[in-house]
Structure formats: structure tokens, C-alpha cells
Subunit: 282 residues, 6 copies
């Protein structure tokens, strides 16, 4: 049984094409499904966080199913096999021009694990780092992009059945955004994380450069925001200078044939003890 | 001139391999560079937000340069051309086993636009939606993963020169996390966005399902978190039921050769006006 | 000379777009060409099998050529350079909407090594494992998807020249399916393989779980098929229980910053001798 | 709860690297999970076939979980943060050389949705065509490659805990191979499909070329196999000739700047009615 | 400020789709930007060459910006949210059919880091080998394809604003082609490289086969060109014979389950000292 | 029969890993094979050019075969199935660390259609534009990178059998570089192309900006090269100014939810007739 009904009032193959974005796009339902599954399996702390992750993961599989079903139904009776003759009808022509050819040729009138440009979903779309603060931020971001894309697609149809399903999806994206934002607060309340991820190496990091924004573009207003005018503000360096020297690459290994002039002064960076290691290595 | 110095004390080709993650990985410096550039170009509101984005974009190009320079220097004198004979020395053998073959064969002892497993950076790693709330969330998430990976790499070296540079990188990732979080507050303060992205369609979305978490895994503790116990809590549905019917795919178009039994009852979903459209289309 | 004629009666740029699936799609002719070449080169047994593989590989190169030629001819006179003005003609508009922009911009009116959504052919589309049973199964499967897609495309044109070529392609896909299925029988007849790949480790594998199907979905009819009712049937476990314990991930390495509570009981899985190894490693 | 136990006796980070193949490789568990899910959702015939597909899909999710858990446990105490100093110990050095850097840097000691070379799982690894014969062939092929790779990995460890789990996986791959092969027989018994996919267009396809194998390589033994000597044999054309003319590409559109000589005879293929269409288009 | 103005006279969403090729295509502006940046960072010789590379790299970032701006402006007022009803207008229908769905759904009416088929830009599009001759050749080739694609796109619009910008782009591509060709001459004049890359191993390479072209296709005219008739000509071997023996793969490792017959003669290639190594390894 | 012998004196699995770059890397033999095949099929001018392309294409297939054979032989007896115990031997450990896991697990001791980091060959590695000048430039560039990588690999082995084969490959890469450079001269001699691709639109392109190099980096020496000091020199603009206005993105479509302030002045670029079109579209 579907989590929510997925019945279009009528077929719309062009819209079926666009809906692929919510299935296999970078912020589609396959992404949140797999992101939450891998985060749950990689979670190092048993209990409420892991269970929340796995609850949501399970729901997202159901969303892929709803969308795949919707796509198949939107494609019912699609002019998959229309020939050049059919194109002479303008409406038909428009429909054919806007269809995803692979939904017919590859999937036989069904959904693909791909986005609205036919690019396949891939594992780089997700993250599961083991650090819950970093990952819940990614989750809140993913649900935001997901709701944004759903909202845009909501405005691209006037089919009541499709809109009904998308209203459900919008609602779920609202809840999930809130849930991850609150889970971030909970991590802090539990003393597990702070407001910067990871909650470590604050003393080791460069203390001079962890509170300044560098003005590097030609835009004059970066320092007008609350981030640099409010309380506990970040300083805006209006005329920052490079702190390092030239980014000179070292003399190349002759056996690698980098273009190099023998008369050029060597600009190697290694010295002392490093030279010993180099000698050993070369 | 480099934004900050990038001088290792000695070569370390295995570490040069790992550093690729910070250059061309999903959350490496190429990602934040390109993400901020496209967000800036796609920004629909002139002034402080766009300028902050472009300031940061420009800085990130400098980070790619620092890392590329560091990689070239860590590879100086690397046993790029060692033959099988060399492998008999255990240390050398270990070094060779841990090197990235393409840093030698393809880049001649330099950095690659790829991650630590040799997978090339690609445009799907970034997002620039035009909605600043959704995008600043993605930015804060990217900087969190970036600082996390930098912190892990910080613990994988004891070269003072490398650590010095990474301390700078950690500091910048701290600032950038804070900056995007405050910019999110600023969006709300300016009345441009709320806490859910996009700030629209709240009345249209399904009101019954925009405040409930569904208990769908076998973990019992999802409802123990502040998200479902605190004030303004999200409800936890402990025994949710599917709201939709079966996800039956429609009868296939014969010309697409989906396996189908002629004696099977038709399970089409279209009816009424939809049928008309279908008739026209088929 | 082409293996078979590839002359369309008239140009049809929209169809040229769709034909890309048979060139560079996951089951297109580039796939079978490269799959058979790598299988031939990786074949560990000289003679009839290897020669059959190489005969077929050679033919498939010719199929890519036929399709590439057909695409170039279907694109002759295509409105590649039509401007916005031209779109006002509905038929022209439809044609433009359905064209592959890269066939004009990148290939100058020719074929691309990509599928019908512009996704490039890649090496992951093929397999050449060295085990002929496993690989011939993959070959029979590839030819089945290939013939299926060709059949769908056959129904999408009424150009006699195109249909003539596709009739040839359909015929070749029929032969190749039969050939690989018979070669599988031959492997068994020759005593080289059995009906399960690889033909080994049958005694070592778990004897309790190598003949049962687990009923895990909410569909009630999985056990109605011949596979669980016929002779030598596979048992259907109607109410299977998990055999393992919880999938708890171990305590994280502090230097990797996984979120973890110090007060949490350690849920490590290593013990005894493993602890020694761990001590050495950490 | 895991479907089967996943407890290694001791950590082995190099093996954790290799196991990635079974998670995110082209024939890993993510592939069969997603392939069966999309086939189920795309199934056009309710009942035993769809239920069998969904039963198996559900099981495969559990296999990904088992493997992800195993990887996290094999990585416990892995020298993720070992510095150059550590490399001086040969065993440690070997371990570091053979590790997947992203399991530490990106996943914090967990599994990745990628293969053993760090290439991410993607949607092109699966097929769900709506034609059950074509798809069940692909399933039997996938399970064959899966069992083959599992068998190879079985020989690469002597950890009793790992071997115990792999024995279970081998057994499941045996069942699943048998199950899909029998489901193929069932399709034929039910009169839904024949032995060639799709079961159509046999009369339309080229009758002269649907029963011949072309001898095109320099291997002399292709015609020695049962496929061309047995009953109902396929004919071996020992000296086949091309049936088509030259694969000449047509005269290029001047606006696309294909290199072309004005003095060259036009080698266009269009004529008659086609010319009219061309005139309209250009 | 933009390097050059990017103001279309009117929106044209179909053309915005095509322009993506110049942004994120294999030979688009992202490619030359990143190619030149990595070449500059990887340059092993300070001074004029490196500075020329970095000058050009910086300019190319500006080209991406111009194109991204142009795309956003071409999309202004695009029927991103048109519903099925709108498709009944033929012109509108054509426009919708030819749009890039992701420019609306993902980028909110802006440019994507992808090509005109929605395939994302990736790091494999560039090369930075450290050898300037090899890389300047790649640069001249990239600028040639870039100008070619720009010229094709120039013929696909009649918007004066777009044409004005493309005239600038054409001019820059002309300069850049000339510049890299002259830089190649300069490398030779400076005695750094010769006419074959790399300028080494000429004495070691096979002297018999470094000046012959093998006639291997069925085309009869390969030897009619100046390359084999002019002064200092390359010899055309009209009837070349294979120089090697059969490409027999060795006997497989039994633990890898390659199909193999025990009765088959072993066709191993190892012998003598190699056998010792093999013994040690196996 | 192989084009040239491919017999290593002894197995070397680490080197087999590296050799993958020459098979499936961006500039490996699969690239030149496919690039030349598609260029030949896309060639619009019959005769010497097309025949030269096809002659070379055919040879390159043979190079893939040679390399695939070499890889299989280098892997003979490789410790594919060595367990953790084996790693205690330092040499063995190093070997295992440096192997490609997929050559064993996926290919059973054979070659993969992938590069030395396991990234699969893909169709974006090639170009076949129909313009011979642009494509021959790409060919000369590909052969240059190919010879460079071969030369680097030549220095990474001391196996006489491997070196013998690579000497042949080096020689062929020398010939092919020369051949494409001369074919470029021939195109000019035949009056088919000039020195800039494509040989068109020179009068239309911006005449003010087609002979200047812009000084945009902080490097001071770009104008010291022959390109800006020699005869027929390109001018170096030492202090160039942007020619365009701000790259302001237009006011967003409200239905796409780009962040926008209602009080902000509209910065639209459309006007006059364009507004009419916009009205129609929106």
C-alpha cells in the first residue's frame, strides 16, 4: 500500500518527465532514502537519534514508490510509439518534444532511477559521516532543496490528483526540515555537539583567522550584514593581504617530463631533515 | 601569492593522495568555490548577501590553489618511477602502495581535480537554487563536512608545515560555518525567508501531515527526543497506517511489450475526462 | 562497407535523437561491442567459446557503424541552426523541441557516444569476469534488453528505410539471444560449468539457507509460482525471522569525530585475539 | 535486527576496502535492491511475479545493512589517523597502503555507497524494463556475477566471522539464481513470454538473418560448438560479405562547419519526397 | 562587472538550454577555466609561460560569468510554471518542449554547471600534465572546439544582444588559439621542447616502427596525403602483418573461478626467474 | 594475433594496476580507438583524410588488445586471494596494497575498461565534431598526452618484456603525433581549413578584441613571450578594464521562489519588443 494516494486525473507525459527530478535528482527521494539509511547504519550512538534517522529513512522509500507509481500512471497512454506523422498535430508535437525518451525506450512506460535530464542517481549525492551535527545540517539542507523543488513542480501542474499528492509531499518536507533543525538543538542540549562541526580543535585552529571575513570581491556591501555589525560579530577585513608566498611548484622529477629549464634557479621547498627523506625516496 | 603558506617540512606522497579529498571531493574546495560562484551569479537580490557570497567564493579559489601547491610539494621526490625492485624496501613499498597513480602518470607530480579515490569533481556536487535560505543551509552543511574532513586529515599527519596550513583551513571553516548560520538569521530578520524553505505554500500543504513523525523502523526510541517531547512538539505517530491504495502500475501499451496477461482485470486509473485525453493521445 | 544498408527515406532529427539509445545506451551496440571484446581478451580457454565471442564482437562494431551512419543521414537538413523565428511553425517547433542539441553543437550533425538522454557510454555498462557462465548470462540478458529497445523503436517510426535496418537488427538480436543460451547449455555439456555460477563452494555455503525464499513484502502470492510448488521446489518461508542481532556500529575512533556519548556502554564487537590486533593498530 | 550475523573476529581494514564491491559495485547489493524495487513498481501484472520481486527486493536491503555493519566493524581501530611515522612498521604500512581513504575521511570509519575503487553506485547499474523475461534474465545474470564476486572475496579472508556471513550470502545468491531461472520457465509455462525477448515481431524481423552466426574474427573454431552442430542449429556463415553500401555521411550543413570540399560530388542519400521535407526544414 | 555585456534583447528559454554547452560542456568555459588554473599551479617553470596561463585562466572565469548571466536573462519570464493547459498554444508548446527542466526546477531560472544535455561538468574534461608542449596542444584543441561550438550557436539565434556577446567570444577564441600555437613555437625556440611530446626517449623507442603508417582499413586512399608523399614522409605500410603472437590469457587462478578446462594445455607465459616470483606470490 | 608481442618476463600486479591508465584513461587506447572511429563515421569528405582516420582507428583497437593481454599476464599468479596472514610478509604486503582490487574481484585477473584509479572509460573522453582541423588538433593533443603517459610508465618498470612493448607504443605515438600535425598542414594546403577553427566568421567576430591578450593575473611576465614581442604579434593589454556592466540576474519568477525583496528596484534587462514576448510567455 502506498503511504499516500498517487492518482493523477489524467496522463501527462511531459510532467512525468519533470517529476523524475523528485525521484532520482540530487535532492530527490532516492537521495534522502539512501542518505538516512547509511547515516543510520553508520550511527555510533544507539537510541533516539538513530531511531529517528531510521524512521525517516523508511518513510522515504515509500516516497520513491509513490513517485514511481505516479510516473507510470502519468505515462499511461503516452504517445510512446507515435511516428513522424503524429508530430503534425501541434499538441501532440509539443508532448513528444517534452517527453523523456528513456521512460519509453528503457523503462517501457515507467520511472527511471535518474533526474529530469536523464542523469542517473549516484552515491555521491549522499553523505553519512558519522558526525551527527554535520549530517543533520546536510539533512536539513536536503529537505529544504527537496521542498523547494516540490513547490516549483506544484506550480507546473493543475491536475488535482497530482497536486493532492504534492501537498502531502510538501507537508512531509516541512516536518522533516523542522525535525532535523530540532535534532541539531537536541545534540547541543545533550552536550554531544556545539554549533560548529566537529566540536573539536578549536584551540588548535588558527586563532587570528577564525573570526574574520575577507573582502575579496568587488561588491562593497558584504560588511553591511548582521554577521559583521551585530553582537559577537565576525570582523570584516576590508583590505586583506595574502599571508603566504608564491605558490611555486617544485622542480619536477626528470622521469616525469615536466617542462623545466636547467638554467632556472631551483625553487625547491624541502630542506634539512626533509632532504634526507627525499634522498632515501629518490 | 598564496592566501596562506603551504610548505610541508618533508615530502609525503601518501598524504598527498589523501589531501585530494579536500581539493576535488564532494565537500572539497572546488565544491565551495563553484557553489558560491554559481550562487552569486544566480542571486536575485543585490547587496550584502550577494557580496558576502562573492567574497567567500573568491577566497575559496585561493584555497584550491593552496592545496594544489601543497600536493605538488608533498610529491617532490616521490618514488613515482620506482620499479618492482624498489618495492623490496618495506617503507618504500608502503609508500608506493598508498600513492595515487594518477598524480604521477597523469599530472606529472601535481594535483588532480579529483577526490582521494580518483573520482573527478563534478557539477552535481554543488547547488545554486536562487533561494538563499535553502542555499545557505547547503553552505553551512558543506562547511561542516569540510571542517570535519580537514580535522580528520589534521590527525593523519605530524608534519608541522602541513599542520600549520590545516590550522588555517580549520579556522576558515569555523568562520564560514558561523557566517552562513548568521546569514540565515539575517534572512529571517529581513523578512525575506522564514525557518522552512521555501517560505510559501504553508496553507496549501496537507495540514494533517505537516507536524507528525511516522514511527516506521523497529527502533523504539524515536519519540524520546526533544523534537517530540518539548514545546511546540512534532507528534510521533507510533502506529501509522498507509493512506493510499496499492501502487498498481497501469496496463502497458502493447507496443512497449511490458509483460501482461490479457485475462487480467484492467487496473487502469484514468477515467472520465482523463479518458478523453487518453483517447486523443493514443 | 556497412554490414547492412542504413538509408532512411527522409530526415527525421527527432528519431535521430531516440536512436542514440541503441548506440551509447546501457544496452546499446557500444556495450555489446566492448563487452564481447573484453570477454574475448579475458577468456581463459582457447577455441570455440573464445572464437564465438570474438566473431560476435566484430559484428557489433559494424552495428555501431550502421547506427552512426543512420543518425547522420536522419540529421541531414535538420533545423540545427533554426532561430527563434522558426519556432513559430508548429511542426518545426516540435522538431526543434525533440532534437538532441549536442548532435548539432558538438557532433556537427552526427552521432554521439551517448544514450538518448545525452548520458555518455561508460565502461561500467559491461562485464567480463572470466567466468563464462556468468558472462554468457549477462550476454543473453543484454541481447534481450537490446532487442526489446529495438522493438520499441521499431514502433516509433514509419520510415521504410529505417524499418528495414531495424528488421535486420531485430533478427541479429534474436540469433544472439539463442546463441548465448545454447552456449550456456554447451558449457554444462562440456562439464565446465553447472546451472549456478560459479560452479563451486556449494558444500561450503550455508546449507540451511540455500533453498528458501523469504516472504518479506506484503504481497501474498509469491509462493503461488512454480518455483515453490513444482518439483525440486524452493521452500517459501512465510514468516521469516532475522537471524542476526542488532547492526550496531562500533565505538568510533575519537580522532574521526563520530558523535558519541562517553557515558554510553561500549558496543564493540572485537574481543580476545582481535583485541591484540586492535591494540597494535591503535 | 540483521538478517544474518555480521561479526568479524578481528578488524581488517584492507578487507573492509574490498568488501565495498559487494555494497556499491555494479553487481553489489545496492544494485539488486534497487533493480528489484524498480521492477516491482514497474510490474504490469499483479500477483505471484510482482510479489516474488518485492520479497526479494526487501531481502536485499537487509544485505546492504549486513555488509555496511560488517565494514564498520572491520574498520574498528583501523589506523585511520596513523601518520608517516607509523608507516615505518611494515605490517602497518601495508595496511595503510591497502585502505580506502574515504572510509576514514568521508565516512568516519563506515561504509560508502561506492565500489572497491571508490566509484559511486549509480542508477545505470539497474534495469527495470517492464518486460519480465528480459528483466529476469538480467536478474539471473546479476545474481551470477554477485555470487562469483562473493566467492572470490570468500577466498580472500580467513576470518571465521566474515566467512560465516559470506557463506550465508553465497547460499542466498544460489537460491536467487535458481529462483529467477525458474521464474523464466514459469513465464513460458503461463504463455506470457517465449524464449526470445520480447515475444513479438518474429514475423517482421529479417527472416534471412535471424538464424546465422557470422564468422568475422580470425578464430577458426566458432563453428565447432553445439550451437552450430546440434539439432535446430544456427548456421555459421564462414565467409560473410557486407550487405550494405559505404557508410558515407551526408554533405554537411554549412552552418555547422563540417570540413567539406565544394568540388566534391554530393553524396546525399535523400531523394524524392524526402527532399520536400528537407526543403521545408532548411 | 562583466568582461563584456551580456544583454539579450528578449528572453529565449530554448536558446538558454543550448547555451549550457558553452558553460559546462566538455569544451565549455568551465573547462578552460579549470584547465588553465591547474596548469598554472602545476607549472614547473616560473615566468612568461606560467603568467600567460594564469592571465588566460582569469579571463575564462569571467566568460563563465558572462554566460551564466546571459542564461538567467534569457530565462526571464520563461514559462517555467506553465501547466498542461498552456501546451495547447503551439509556440508555447514548442518552447516548453525545448527547455531544460533543471534550469527551472533546480536553478530557479538560472544556469547549471552542466552541458546542453544536463550532464554535469567534471574534472576529467581537463588536463594539466606538467608538460607544456602536451598541454598547450590540448589548449589549442580546446579553443578550437570551443570556437566551433560558439560559431554553431551563433547561427542558432538572431537576437542582436546575444550575437553581440558571441562575437566577442568568437574573437577571444581566435586570440587564444593563436596564442597557444605561438607558445608552442616559443617552447621550441627556447629549446625546452621539440615537435613530439615528450621530447625524450626517441633513441629508446622502437626505430623500425616510428615512421610508418599501417594500412588497416578498407579505405584505399590513406597513402594519398602529403604525410606519405611529401618530403620527410611517413611510410605507408600497405599490407602490414601482425608482429606478435596470439593474445592468449594465462591459466586462471582456481580461486577466481575463470572458466577453464583441466585438460587444456597450459598457455602460461611465465618462466625461469619469473616462476620463482610466482611461486613466492602464490 | 597481436600487433606486437606483449610478454612480461614476470608477473607484476602493481604495474598491472598502473597500466590501466593506458587502457581506459582519458588519453588511453580506448579513447583514441573510439575517437577515430566516430571521426571516421562522421567525416563529410571521402578519401585520404577519412581513410587515414580509419586506418589509425583500426590500429588502436589492436593496442587495447595488446594492453589487455599484458595486464592479464602481469596478473598471473597475483596474490588475489591472499588473506590477512599473507600481509605479514612486507613485500607481499606492498604488492597487495598497490593492487587494483577490481582486477581480481570483478575481472578475475584481467583488464578493466577503466583507468588506474578505477574510473570507467566514458564517451566524454572523445570528440568527433565533423570539423577536421578542430579534430586533428584534438588528435595530436591526445597522442601527445598518450606518449607522455607511456613514457612515464616506461620509467616505472624494469621488466624487459614490458619495456619492449612500450618501446613499440612510444614509436607509434611518435608517428601518430607527426601524422596528425601533417594532416593539419594538408588541410591548409588543400584550402579546406586555415589556422583557426572553424575557418569562418572572421569578419563577423569582434575586430577590436581578436588580437589582444588581457593581463589579468598578478604574474608580470606574460608579455615577455614571442607571442607578444615577435612579428605579427598579439597585443598585451596590461591594464584591461571590464567592458560590460554588472552581471545582475533578473527579478525572479515568484513561482520559483528565488529570494527577492519587493522593495528592491527591479533590475530587469528586457524592454520594448522583448516585453511583448515576455507578456505572451508569462
Amino acid at each position: 500500500m502506498l503511504q499516500f494516494e498517487a492518482k493523477p486525473e489524467r496522463p501527462d507525459p511531459v510532467y512525468a518527465h519533470k517529476l523524475q527530478e523528485l525521484i532520482g535528482g540530487a535532492y530527490g527521494e532516492m537521495t534522502v532514502t539512501m542518505q538516512y539509511l547509511f547515516q543510520g547504519w553508520n550511527c555510533r550512538i544507539e537510541g533516539k537519534y538513530k531511531d529517528l534517522i531510521m524512521d525517516t529513512a523508511t518513510e522515504e522509500i515509500g516516497h520513491v514508490e509513490m513517485l514511481a507509481t505516479m510516473v507510470a500512471r502519468l505515462l499511461e497512454g503516452a504517445p510512446a510509439t507515435a511516428t513522424a506523422e503524429a508530430v503534425k498535430d501541434p499538441v501532440m508535437a509539443a508532448v513528444i518534444g517534452g517527453m523523456d525518451p528513456q521512460q519509453a525506450i528503457v523503462a517501457g512506460g515507467g520511472a527511471l532511477p535518474a533526474d529530469s535530464n536523464g542523469y542517473p542517481w549516484n552515491g555521491k549525492f549522499i553523505v553519512a559521516s558519522g558526525n551527527l551535527l554535520a549530517d543533520f545540517r546536510a539533512n536539513a539542507a536536503a529537505e529544504a532543496q527537496g521542498r523547494l523543488q516540490t513547490a516549483r513542480l506544484y506550480n507546473m501542474t493543475d491536475d488535482p490528483g497530482v497536486k493532492e499528492m504534492l501537498k502531502f509531499n510538501l507537508a512531509r518536507d516541512t516536518v522533516h526540515q523542522k525535525q532535523w533543525l530540532r535534532a541539531i538543538e537536541e545534540l547541543e542540549a545533550d552536550g554531544l555537539e556545539t554549533d560548529v562541526a566537529p566540536s573539536a580543535l578549536f584551540d588548535e585552529e588558527n586563532q587570528e583567522h577564525n573570526h574574520t571575513i575577507w573582502h575579496l570581491s568587488d561588491g562593497p556591501d558584504g560588511n553591511k550584514g548582521g554577521w559583521s555589525t551585530g553582537e559577537d560579530r565576525l570582523d570584516y577585513l576590508m583590505d586583506p593581504k595574502p599571508l603566504g608566498g608564491p605558490g611555486t611548484a617544485p622542480k619536477p622529477d626528470p622521469a616525469l617530463y615536466g617542462t623545466y629549464s636547467a638554467t632556472q634557479d631551483t625553487v625547491g621547498v624541502v630542506k634539512g631533515k626533509a632532504q634526507e627523506v627525499k634522498n632515501k625516496l629518490s
